[in-house]
Protein backbone atom coordinates (compact mmCIF):
# COMPACT_ATOMS: atom_id res chain seq x y z
CA UNK A 1 0.00 0.00 0.00
CA UNK A 2 2.86 2.25 0.76
CA UNK A 3 4.14 1.90 -2.82
CA UNK A 4 0.74 2.86 -4.23
CA UNK A 5 0.55 5.83 -1.97
CA UNK A 6 3.97 6.99 -3.14
CA UNK A 7 2.95 6.62 -6.78
CA UNK A 8 -0.20 8.62 -6.19
CA UNK A 9 1.81 11.09 -4.21
CA UNK A 10 3.99 11.64 -7.27
CA UNK A 11 1.24 11.36 -9.89
CA UNK A 12 -1.46 13.57 -8.46
CA UNK A 13 0.51 16.81 -8.50
CA UNK A 14 1.55 16.19 -12.11
CA UNK A 15 -2.02 15.42 -13.11
CA UNK A 16 -3.21 18.55 -11.34
CA UNK A 17 -0.70 20.75 -13.13
CA UNK A 18 -1.42 19.12 -16.49
CA UNK A 19 -5.11 19.60 -16.13
CA UNK A 20 -4.72 23.19 -15.09
CA UNK A 21 -2.52 23.92 -18.07
CA UNK A 22 -4.87 22.43 -20.69
CA UNK A 23 -6.95 25.66 -21.14
CA UNK A 24 -3.85 27.38 -22.44
CA UNK A 25 -3.84 25.10 -25.50
CA UNK A 26 -7.57 24.29 -26.08
CA UNK A 27 -10.97 26.11 -26.54
CA UNK A 28 -13.65 26.41 -23.94
CA UNK A 29 -15.64 23.40 -23.02
CA UNK A 30 -13.37 20.51 -22.70
CA UNK A 31 -10.62 22.70 -21.36
CA UNK A 32 -12.98 24.13 -18.74
CA UNK A 33 -13.93 20.67 -17.71
CA UNK A 34 -10.32 19.74 -17.73
CA UNK A 35 -9.50 22.74 -15.60
CA UNK A 36 -12.24 21.85 -13.16
CA UNK A 37 -10.93 18.34 -13.08
CA UNK A 38 -7.47 19.71 -12.49
CA UNK A 39 -8.65 21.85 -9.59
CA UNK A 40 -10.58 18.93 -8.20
CA UNK A 41 -7.51 16.78 -8.56
CA UNK A 42 -5.50 19.40 -6.76
CA UNK A 43 -8.03 19.46 -3.96
CA UNK A 44 -8.07 15.73 -3.79
CA UNK A 45 -4.31 15.76 -3.73
CA UNK A 46 -4.28 18.30 -0.89
CA UNK A 47 -6.77 16.27 1.05
CA UNK A 48 -4.89 13.13 0.32
CA UNK A 49 -1.69 14.82 1.38
CA UNK A 50 -3.24 15.71 4.72
CA UNK A 51 -4.57 12.24 5.09
CA UNK A 52 -1.18 10.90 4.22
CA UNK A 53 0.49 13.10 6.81
CA UNK A 54 -1.99 11.85 9.39
CA UNK A 55 -1.45 8.32 8.27
CA UNK A 56 2.29 8.81 8.43
CA UNK A 57 1.96 10.21 11.92
CA UNK A 58 -0.11 7.22 12.97
CA UNK A 59 2.33 4.96 11.28
CA UNK A 60 5.17 6.68 13.09
CA UNK A 61 3.40 6.12 16.43
CA UNK A 62 2.75 2.54 15.54
CA UNK A 63 6.34 2.21 14.50
CA UNK A 64 7.52 3.75 17.75
CA UNK A 65 5.37 1.30 19.66
CA UNK A 66 6.75 -1.52 17.64
CA UNK A 67 10.27 -0.22 18.18
CA UNK A 68 9.65 0.11 21.94
CA UNK A 69 8.29 -3.36 22.05
CA UNK A 70 11.24 -4.56 20.12
CA UNK A 71 13.57 -2.78 22.53
CA UNK A 72 11.70 -4.28 25.46
CA UNK A 73 11.90 -7.68 23.90
CA UNK A 74 15.57 -7.07 23.30
CA UNK A 75 15.97 -6.14 27.01
CA UNK A 76 14.18 -9.26 28.18
CA UNK A 77 15.87 -11.47 25.64
CA UNK A 78 19.35 -10.02 25.57
CA UNK A 79 20.02 -7.97 28.72
CA UNK A 80 17.89 -9.45 31.51
CA UNK A 81 18.97 -13.09 31.35
CA UNK A 82 22.65 -12.37 31.88
CA UNK A 83 21.77 -10.00 34.73
CA UNK A 84 19.50 -12.59 36.34
CA UNK A 85 22.08 -15.31 35.80
CA UNK A 86 24.44 -13.21 37.91
CA UNK A 87 21.95 -12.07 40.60
CA UNK A 88 19.74 -15.10 41.19
CA UNK A 89 22.46 -17.44 42.46
CA UNK A 90 23.52 -14.81 45.00
CA UNK A 91 19.94 -14.27 46.16
CA UNK A 92 19.51 -18.02 46.37
CA UNK A 93 22.64 -18.29 48.51
CA UNK A 94 21.29 -15.65 50.90
CA UNK A 95 17.91 -17.34 51.13
CA UNK A 96 19.60 -20.68 51.69
CA UNK A 97 21.76 -19.05 54.36
CA UNK A 98 18.59 -17.83 56.08
CA UNK A 99 17.03 -21.29 55.88
CA UNK A 100 20.18 -22.90 57.22
CA UNK A 101 20.63 -20.40 60.06
CA UNK A 102 16.99 -20.75 61.05
CA UNK A 103 17.22 -24.53 60.94
CA UNK A 104 20.38 -24.57 63.04
CA UNK A 105 19.10 -22.01 65.53
CA UNK A 106 15.76 -23.76 66.03
CA UNK A 107 17.61 -27.04 66.48
CA UNK A 108 19.84 -25.41 69.10
CA UNK A 109 16.76 -24.00 70.82
CA UNK A 110 15.11 -27.41 70.98
CA UNK A 111 18.27 -28.97 72.39
CA UNK A 112 18.69 -26.23 74.99
CA UNK A 113 15.05 -26.29 76.07
CA UNK A 114 15.21 -30.08 76.39
CA UNK A 115 18.37 -29.80 78.45
CA UNK A 116 16.74 -27.22 80.72
CA UNK A 117 13.74 -29.50 81.24
CA UNK A 118 16.05 -32.39 82.12
CA UNK A 119 18.05 -30.19 84.50
CA UNK A 120 14.86 -29.09 86.24
CA UNK A 121 13.82 -32.70 86.72
CA UNK A 122 17.28 -33.68 87.92
CA UNK A 123 17.19 -30.78 90.38
CA UNK A 124 14.05 -32.19 91.94
CA UNK A 125 11.40 -29.96 90.38
CA UNK A 126 9.33 -32.85 89.15
CA UNK A 127 5.91 -31.17 89.05
CA UNK A 128 2.71 -32.64 90.62
CA UNK A 129 2.70 -35.51 93.16
CA UNK A 130 0.80 -37.67 90.68
CA UNK A 131 3.99 -38.03 88.76
CA UNK A 132 6.01 -39.23 91.77
CA UNK A 133 6.84 -42.90 92.24
CA UNK A 134 5.24 -44.37 95.40
CA UNK A 135 7.31 -43.96 98.60
CA UNK A 136 9.50 -41.22 97.17
CA UNK A 137 9.63 -38.05 99.25
CA UNK A 138 9.91 -34.52 98.02
CA UNK A 139 12.03 -32.05 99.92
CA UNK A 140 8.97 -30.69 101.72
CA UNK A 141 7.89 -34.20 102.79
CA UNK A 142 11.36 -34.82 104.23
CA UNK A 143 11.09 -31.74 106.40
CA UNK A 144 7.61 -32.84 107.58
CA UNK A 145 9.01 -36.28 108.36
CA UNK A 146 11.86 -34.77 110.38
CA UNK A 147 9.38 -32.68 112.35
CA UNK A 148 7.20 -35.72 113.10
CA UNK A 149 10.15 -37.81 114.22
CA UNK A 150 11.54 -35.12 116.50
CA UNK A 151 8.27 -34.55 118.37
CA UNK A 152 8.45 -37.81 120.44
CA UNK A 153 12.05 -36.94 121.31
CA UNK A 154 10.94 -33.57 122.58
CA UNK A 155 8.15 -35.26 124.62
CA UNK A 156 10.70 -37.70 126.11
CA UNK A 157 13.04 -34.91 127.05
CA UNK A 158 10.13 -33.10 128.69
CA UNK A 159 9.25 -36.19 130.72
CA UNK A 160 12.88 -36.58 131.78
CA UNK A 161 12.95 -32.96 132.89
CA UNK A 162 9.74 -33.45 134.89
CA UNK A 163 11.02 -36.61 136.62
CA UNK A 164 14.25 -34.88 137.53
CA UNK A 165 12.13 -32.15 139.11
CA UNK A 166 10.29 -34.68 141.26
CA UNK A 167 13.60 -36.17 142.35
CA UNK A 168 14.91 -32.75 143.22
CA UNK A 169 11.80 -32.09 145.35
CA UNK A 170 12.35 -35.34 147.20
CA UNK A 171 15.97 -34.44 147.80
CA UNK A 172 14.94 -31.04 149.15
CA UNK A 173 12.51 -32.70 151.50
CA UNK A 174 15.27 -35.02 152.69
CA UNK A 175 17.46 -32.04 153.27
CA UNK A 176 14.84 -30.38 155.48
CA UNK A 177 14.39 -33.54 157.50
CA UNK A 178 18.12 -33.92 157.86
CA UNK A 179 18.24 -30.39 159.25
CA UNK A 180 15.56 -31.27 161.77
CA UNK A 181 17.51 -34.35 162.77
CA UNK A 182 20.55 -32.25 163.34
CA UNK A 183 18.55 -29.98 165.60
CA UNK A 184 17.21 -32.96 167.45
CA UNK A 185 20.64 -34.35 167.81
CA UNK A 186 21.71 -31.08 169.38
CA UNK A 187 18.80 -31.25 171.80
CA UNK A 188 19.67 -34.81 172.76
CA UNK A 189 23.21 -33.70 173.29
CA UNK A 190 21.93 -30.93 175.54
CA UNK A 191 19.87 -33.39 177.44
CA UNK A 192 22.84 -35.62 177.87
CA UNK A 193 24.90 -32.71 179.16
CA UNK A 194 22.31 -31.76 181.71
CA UNK A 195 22.04 -35.37 182.74
CA UNK A 196 25.76 -35.32 183.42
CA UNK A 197 25.45 -32.22 185.53
CA UNK A 198 22.66 -33.79 187.48
CA UNK A 199 24.73 -36.85 188.02
CA UNK A 200 27.54 -34.69 189.26
CA UNK A 201 25.20 -32.86 191.60
CA UNK A 202 23.86 -36.19 192.83
CA UNK A 203 27.39 -37.27 193.60
CA UNK A 204 28.00 -34.11 195.52
CA UNK A 205 24.76 -34.51 197.42
CA UNK A 206 25.69 -38.09 198.09
CA UNK A 207 28.84 -36.84 199.58
CA UNK A 208 26.87 -34.77 202.01
CA UNK A 209 24.76 -37.62 203.27
CA UNK A 210 23.53 -36.70 206.53
CA UNK A 211 20.55 -35.06 205.60
CA UNK A 212 19.57 -38.13 203.77
CA UNK A 213 17.16 -38.12 200.92
CA UNK A 214 16.13 -34.50 200.14
CA UNK A 215 18.72 -33.77 197.59
CA UNK A 216 18.44 -37.14 195.96
CA UNK A 217 14.67 -36.79 195.68
CA UNK A 218 15.04 -33.55 193.77
CA UNK A 219 17.76 -35.10 191.67
CA UNK A 220 15.67 -38.14 190.95
CA UNK A 221 12.75 -35.95 189.87
CA UNK A 222 14.85 -34.01 187.50
CA UNK A 223 16.46 -37.16 186.13
CA UNK A 224 12.99 -38.58 185.51
CA UNK A 225 11.99 -35.48 183.61
CA UNK A 226 15.11 -35.79 181.57
CA UNK A 227 14.39 -39.43 180.90
CA UNK A 228 10.90 -38.59 179.58
CA UNK A 229 12.27 -35.86 177.39
CA UNK A 230 14.93 -38.16 176.04
CA UNK A 231 12.42 -40.91 175.34
CA UNK A 232 10.13 -38.48 173.60
CA UNK A 233 12.97 -37.13 171.48
CA UNK A 234 14.13 -40.64 170.71
CA UNK A 235 10.65 -41.64 169.55
CA UNK A 236 10.43 -38.53 167.43
CA UNK A 237 13.79 -39.23 165.92
CA UNK A 238 12.80 -42.83 165.23
CA UNK A 239 9.62 -41.72 163.49
CA UNK A 240 11.46 -39.18 161.40
CA UNK A 241 14.10 -41.74 160.53
CA UNK A 242 11.36 -44.09 159.34
CA UNK A 243 10.03 -41.26 157.17
CA UNK A 244 13.48 -40.66 155.82
CA UNK A 245 13.87 -44.32 154.98
CA UNK A 246 10.55 -44.31 153.17
CA UNK A 247 11.40 -41.19 151.28
CA UNK A 248 14.83 -42.49 150.43
CA UNK A 249 13.35 -45.79 149.27
CA UNK A 250 10.81 -43.98 147.10
CA UNK A 251 13.45 -41.67 145.78
CA UNK A 252 15.69 -44.58 144.98
CA UNK A 253 12.93 -46.39 143.18
CA UNK A 254 11.99 -43.23 141.28
CA UNK A 255 15.60 -42.65 140.38
CA UNK A 256 15.95 -46.23 139.18
CA UNK A 257 12.82 -45.95 137.09
CA UNK A 258 13.91 -42.58 135.76
CA UNK A 259 17.28 -44.00 134.84
CA UNK A 260 15.64 -46.84 132.97
CA UNK A 261 13.26 -44.43 131.18
CA UNK A 262 16.08 -42.03 130.49
CA UNK A 263 18.13 -44.80 128.97
CA UNK A 264 15.29 -45.83 126.68
CA UNK A 265 14.49 -42.19 125.81
CA UNK A 266 18.12 -41.40 125.12
CA UNK A 267 18.52 -44.47 122.94
CA UNK A 268 15.34 -43.54 121.06
CA UNK A 269 16.49 -39.94 120.77
CA UNK A 270 19.81 -41.12 119.44
CA UNK A 271 18.07 -43.19 116.78
CA UNK A 272 15.74 -40.36 115.83
CA UNK A 273 18.52 -37.80 115.72
CA UNK A 274 20.57 -40.12 113.52
CA UNK A 275 17.55 -40.52 111.27
CA UNK A 276 16.91 -36.79 111.15
CA UNK A 277 20.59 -36.10 110.48
CA UNK A 278 20.42 -38.60 107.68
CA UNK A 279 17.45 -36.73 106.20
CA UNK A 280 19.26 -33.42 106.66
CA UNK A 281 22.32 -34.82 104.93
CA UNK A 282 20.03 -36.02 102.16
CA UNK A 283 18.52 -32.54 101.94
CA UNK A 284 21.98 -31.02 101.89
CA UNK A 285 23.04 -33.30 99.05
CA UNK A 286 19.87 -32.45 97.17
CA UNK A 287 20.46 -28.76 97.79
CA UNK A 288 23.99 -29.09 96.43
CA UNK A 289 22.66 -30.97 93.42
CA UNK A 290 20.05 -28.26 92.87
CA UNK A 291 22.76 -25.63 93.09
CA UNK A 292 24.82 -27.48 90.51
CA UNK A 293 21.82 -28.00 88.27
CA UNK A 294 20.96 -24.34 88.69
CA UNK A 295 24.37 -23.39 87.33
CA UNK A 296 23.87 -25.71 84.37
CA UNK A 297 20.42 -24.28 83.75
CA UNK A 298 21.88 -20.77 83.81
CA UNK A 299 24.41 -21.83 81.15
CA UNK A 300 21.63 -23.32 79.05
CA UNK A 301 19.63 -20.11 79.29
CA UNK A 302 22.67 -18.09 78.23
CA UNK A 303 23.08 -20.42 75.25
CA UNK A 304 19.39 -19.88 74.45
CA UNK A 305 19.89 -16.13 74.45
CA UNK A 306 22.73 -16.52 71.95
CA UNK A 307 20.67 -18.85 69.73
CA UNK A 308 17.61 -16.60 69.71
CA UNK A 309 19.65 -13.79 68.15
CA UNK A 310 19.45 -15.63 64.82
CA UNK A 311 16.22 -13.71 64.18
CA UNK A 312 18.10 -10.40 64.03
CA UNK A 313 20.66 -11.79 61.56
CA UNK A 314 18.20 -13.47 59.20
CA UNK A 315 16.03 -10.37 59.31
CA UNK A 316 18.97 -8.30 58.02
CA UNK A 317 19.76 -10.83 55.26
CA UNK A 318 16.13 -10.99 54.12
CA UNK A 319 15.85 -7.20 54.30
CA UNK A 320 18.80 -6.74 51.92
CA UNK A 321 17.47 -9.35 49.45
CA UNK A 322 14.00 -7.80 49.60
CA UNK A 323 15.39 -4.34 48.80
CA UNK A 324 17.43 -5.77 45.94
CA UNK A 325 14.34 -7.41 44.44
CA UNK A 326 12.53 -4.06 44.64
CA UNK A 327 15.52 -2.38 42.98
CA UNK A 328 15.40 -4.90 40.11
CA UNK A 329 11.67 -4.38 39.64
CA UNK A 330 12.15 -0.59 39.53
CA UNK A 331 15.04 -0.89 37.11
CA UNK A 332 13.08 -3.12 34.74
CA UNK A 333 10.09 -0.76 34.89
CA UNK A 334 12.30 2.19 34.01
CA UNK A 335 13.71 2.79 30.48
CA UNK A 336 17.26 2.74 31.73
CA UNK A 337 19.65 0.26 30.32
CA UNK A 338 20.08 -2.75 32.56
CA UNK A 339 23.48 -2.84 34.25
CA UNK A 340 25.78 -5.79 34.05
CA UNK A 341 25.52 -8.47 36.74
CA UNK A 342 28.98 -7.57 38.06
CA UNK A 343 27.96 -3.97 38.59
CA UNK A 344 24.67 -5.02 40.14
CA UNK A 345 26.37 -7.41 42.56
CA UNK A 346 28.94 -4.79 43.49
CA UNK A 347 26.11 -2.42 44.47
CA UNK A 348 24.44 -5.23 46.40
CA UNK A 349 27.63 -6.04 48.27
CA UNK A 350 27.94 -2.45 49.43
CA UNK A 351 24.80 -2.98 51.56
CA UNK A 352 26.10 -6.01 53.41
CA UNK A 353 26.57 -5.68 57.19
CA UNK A 354 27.65 -9.17 58.18
CA UNK A 355 30.39 -11.65 57.42
CA UNK A 356 27.76 -14.26 56.58
CA UNK A 357 26.44 -12.04 53.78
CA UNK A 358 29.91 -11.44 52.36
CA UNK A 359 30.69 -15.14 52.50
CA UNK A 360 27.34 -15.99 50.92
CA UNK A 361 28.03 -13.49 48.15
CA UNK A 362 30.11 -16.22 46.60
CA UNK A 363 27.96 -19.04 45.25
CA UNK A 364 30.01 -21.88 46.66
CA UNK A 365 28.51 -24.41 49.01
CA UNK A 366 31.45 -23.69 51.28
CA UNK A 367 30.20 -20.14 51.64
CA UNK A 368 26.78 -21.48 52.53
CA UNK A 369 28.13 -23.86 55.14
CA UNK A 370 30.20 -21.11 56.70
CA UNK A 371 27.17 -18.84 56.73
CA UNK A 372 25.02 -21.31 58.63
CA UNK A 373 26.54 -20.49 62.02
CA UNK A 374 27.37 -17.07 63.35
CA UNK A 375 30.88 -16.19 64.43
CA UNK A 376 31.39 -15.89 68.19
CA UNK A 377 31.10 -12.38 69.64
CA UNK A 378 34.18 -10.20 69.94
CA UNK A 379 34.65 -7.25 72.25
CA UNK A 380 36.89 -4.26 71.62
CA UNK A 381 37.44 -1.54 74.17
CA UNK A 382 38.63 1.89 73.09
Amino acid sequence: MTIHLRWLDAALPTLAVACAAVPLFHGVGVPEVTAVVGVAAASIWAAFRSARVAANSAADCAQQAVDAEARLLARYRDELPPLLRGILPVWREHVESVRSQTDTAVGDLVVNFSAITEQFEAAGFKGTSDSLPSGQDTTISLLTLCERELQPVIASMTRITDSKGALAASVRELSVITGELQTMASEVAGIAAQTNLLAINAAIEAARVGEAGRGFAVIAKEIRSLSHASAKTANYITGRMAQIMTIMRNTSEAATQAAASDKIAIELSGTVVDDVLSHVRELSVEAQTMLGQGNVIRSNIEALIVSLQFQDRVSQVIGVVDKDMARLRDTIDSDEALPSSDQWLADLQAHYTMKEQRRGHGTSAGGRAAASSAAPATALFF
Partner: protein, 123 residues
Protein backbone atom coordinates in the same frame (compact mmCIF):
# COMPACT_ATOMS: atom_id res chain seq x y z
CA UNK B 1 19.25 2.39 93.30
CA UNK B 2 19.53 0.36 90.10
CA UNK B 3 21.72 1.73 87.32
CA UNK B 4 19.87 2.53 84.08
CA UNK B 5 20.94 1.31 80.64
CA UNK B 6 19.42 2.60 77.39
CA UNK B 7 19.19 0.00 74.59
CA UNK B 8 18.93 1.38 71.05
CA UNK B 9 18.20 -1.25 68.36
CA UNK B 10 15.64 -1.59 65.60
CA UNK B 11 15.16 -5.32 66.34
CA UNK B 12 12.50 -5.86 69.01
CA UNK B 13 13.68 -9.39 69.73
CA UNK B 14 17.27 -8.22 70.18
CA UNK B 15 16.17 -5.50 72.58
CA UNK B 16 14.18 -8.10 74.54
CA UNK B 17 17.23 -10.37 74.82
CA UNK B 18 19.54 -7.56 75.96
CA UNK B 19 16.90 -6.43 78.45
CA UNK B 20 16.57 -9.98 79.79
CA UNK B 21 20.34 -10.23 80.32
CA UNK B 22 20.59 -6.83 82.01
CA UNK B 23 17.53 -7.03 84.27
CA UNK B 24 18.70 -10.44 85.57
CA UNK B 25 21.86 -8.62 86.67
CA UNK B 26 19.91 -5.87 88.41
CA UNK B 27 19.95 -3.07 85.84
CA UNK B 28 16.95 -0.93 84.93
CA UNK B 29 16.43 -0.76 81.16
CA UNK B 30 15.04 1.82 78.72
CA UNK B 31 14.46 1.03 75.05
CA UNK B 32 14.51 2.86 71.72
CA UNK B 33 14.15 1.52 68.17
CA UNK B 34 16.47 3.99 66.42
CA UNK B 35 18.84 6.88 67.08
CA UNK B 36 16.11 9.53 66.97
CA UNK B 37 14.04 7.71 69.54
CA UNK B 38 17.20 7.17 71.58
CA UNK B 39 17.84 10.91 71.80
CA UNK B 40 14.22 11.45 72.85
CA UNK B 41 14.58 8.82 75.60
CA UNK B 42 17.77 10.48 76.86
CA UNK B 43 16.00 13.84 77.11
CA UNK B 44 13.10 12.27 79.05
CA UNK B 45 15.08 10.07 81.44
CA UNK B 46 16.22 11.29 84.86
CA UNK B 47 19.58 9.56 84.56
CA UNK B 48 21.10 7.07 82.14
CA UNK B 49 24.31 5.34 83.23
CA UNK B 50 25.18 3.61 79.95
CA UNK B 51 24.00 3.26 76.32
CA UNK B 52 24.08 0.07 74.24
CA UNK B 53 23.48 0.92 70.58
CA UNK B 54 23.19 -0.91 67.27
CA UNK B 55 24.89 0.56 64.19
CA UNK B 56 22.52 -0.10 61.29
CA UNK B 57 19.13 1.41 62.07
CA UNK B 58 16.50 3.36 60.12
CA UNK B 59 15.87 7.11 60.69
CA UNK B 60 19.21 7.60 62.48
CA UNK B 61 22.07 5.10 62.45
CA UNK B 62 24.15 4.29 65.50
CA UNK B 63 27.24 6.27 64.63
CA UNK B 64 25.24 9.43 63.95
CA UNK B 65 23.40 8.83 67.20
CA UNK B 66 26.67 8.58 69.16
CA UNK B 67 27.91 11.77 67.50
CA UNK B 68 24.78 13.62 68.65
CA UNK B 69 25.08 12.18 72.16
CA UNK B 70 28.68 13.33 72.49
CA UNK B 71 27.76 16.82 71.37
CA UNK B 72 25.00 17.15 73.95
CA UNK B 73 25.96 19.00 77.14
CA UNK B 74 23.93 16.73 79.44
CA UNK B 75 24.52 13.38 77.76
CA UNK B 76 28.10 13.57 76.53
CA UNK B 77 29.59 11.78 79.53
CA UNK B 78 27.39 8.69 79.15
CA UNK B 79 29.54 5.78 77.92
CA UNK B 80 28.35 4.03 74.75
CA UNK B 81 28.84 0.39 73.74
CA UNK B 82 28.17 -0.45 70.08
CA UNK B 83 26.44 -3.82 69.76
CA UNK B 84 26.28 -4.84 66.10
CA UNK B 85 26.67 -7.51 63.46
CA UNK B 86 29.17 -5.24 61.67
CA UNK B 87 32.85 -6.01 61.97
CA UNK B 88 34.46 -3.81 59.33
CA UNK B 89 37.51 -1.89 60.49
CA UNK B 90 36.27 1.32 58.88
CA UNK B 91 33.01 1.25 60.80
CA UNK B 92 34.82 0.44 64.04
CA UNK B 93 37.12 3.40 63.47
CA UNK B 94 34.11 5.64 62.81
CA UNK B 95 32.49 4.58 66.04
CA UNK B 96 35.67 5.17 68.00
CA UNK B 97 36.05 8.62 66.44
CA UNK B 98 32.43 9.43 67.28
CA UNK B 99 33.10 8.67 70.95
CA UNK B 100 31.99 5.08 71.54
CA UNK B 101 33.89 3.25 74.32
CA UNK B 102 33.48 -0.34 73.13
CA UNK B 103 32.48 -2.43 70.12
CA UNK B 104 30.74 -5.75 70.74
CA UNK B 105 29.72 -8.02 67.86
CA UNK B 106 26.49 -10.00 67.71
CA UNK B 107 25.47 -12.60 68.66
CA UNK B 108 26.40 -11.44 72.15
CA UNK B 109 27.05 -13.77 75.05
CA UNK B 110 25.31 -12.55 78.24
CA UNK B 111 28.36 -12.84 80.53
CA UNK B 112 30.47 -10.97 77.95
CA UNK B 113 27.87 -8.20 77.65
CA UNK B 114 27.60 -7.92 81.42
CA UNK B 115 31.36 -7.73 81.75
CA UNK B 116 31.53 -4.87 79.25
CA UNK B 117 28.61 -3.08 80.91
CA UNK B 118 30.14 -3.55 84.34
CA UNK B 119 33.45 -2.10 83.16
CA UNK B 120 31.99 1.04 81.62
CA UNK B 121 28.76 1.90 83.40
CA UNK B 122 28.78 5.28 85.08
CA UNK B 123 28.71 5.25 88.86
Amino acid sequence: MAKTVLIVDDSMSLRALVKLSLTRAGYAVLEASDGKEGLAQLDKAAKVNLIVSDVNMPNMDGITFVTHVKQHARHKFIPVIMLTTEDEAAKIAQAKAAGARAWLTKPFNPPQLLEAVGKLVLA
